[in-house]
Symmetry: C2
Subunit: 141 residues, 2 copies
């Protein structure tokens, strides 16, 4: 029973104590026990759970989605297919965000290249495109 207080787990997990209390409010991570004076006592299991949460976040899952993943991983009757589906949905989600950003980037790059970068703004083709009365020749616009 190597119980830790909140500050220790926070340090080990690379988060703040407020974050741990926040996760607890969300139902993601709660210590099983408290000291008589009310201090949270976290176990090694809790560190693992926190690590799971942080890793999932780095993969792009929201805390709400992580809650679902945690429930699945606790539920012995759950199917691997459910986890795979969530993962694939997240891939699709991220892929769409990448596509949107690439569209923006192509538009911005084209505009940046069209501007020789000297002289008054009156001659700036970037502003000209943003102001144009007809549809500018920029994919995203």
């Amino acid at each position: 029973m190597q119980a830790m207080t909140i500050g220790t787990l926070a340090k080990k997990g690379g988060v703040g104590t407020g974050t741990l209390r926040y996760y607890e409010r969300l139902g993601l991570l709660a210590p099983a026990t408290r000291s008589p004076s009310g201090y949270r006592f976290y176990q090694r299991e809790d560190f693992k759970r926190l690590r799971f949460i942080r890793r999932s976040q780095r993969l792009g899952f929201s805390l709400e989605e992580i809650g679902v993943l945690l429930k699945l991983s606790q539920n012995a009757g759950a199917q691997a297919a459910d986890v795979k589906r969530l993962t694939e949905e997240k891939v699709a989600d991220i892929d769409q965000r990448i596509k949107d950003l690439e569209l923006m980037k192509r538009g911005l790059s084209a505009l940046a290249q069209s501007c020789h970068g000297h002289g008054p703004v009156a001659d700036c083709p970037i502003l000209a495109a943003l102001n144009a009365d007809d549809e500018p020749a920029v994919e995203v616009l």
Copy 2:
């Protein structure tokens, strides 16, 4: 003088009336005149300005950045180089976001592929990677 009320400009611009009032609070778009009863009267210029704002947004600029762009485009003494610099900074910014998302996507895709997608969660390699005690063989983790 083809003055429009707020609802008309909102419809033409594809936004809600609340959005136009919000832009006004931010100092991005204010009608020059009001009716005696206080109704906003927008001109053709205001429609162009709104179009500039929406186009800039589609390119990834924040409303704050758009405020800068608008000021530059109003200021005859401003330099095209300033606009070009803002544009290039935004390209770099978006590029970084794309890279972050691609890292996530690679990790997620690898995990999704590692899962055959049937059986209980106990056999799910995705959850195994999130739970692993050693560093999982996933770039982003």
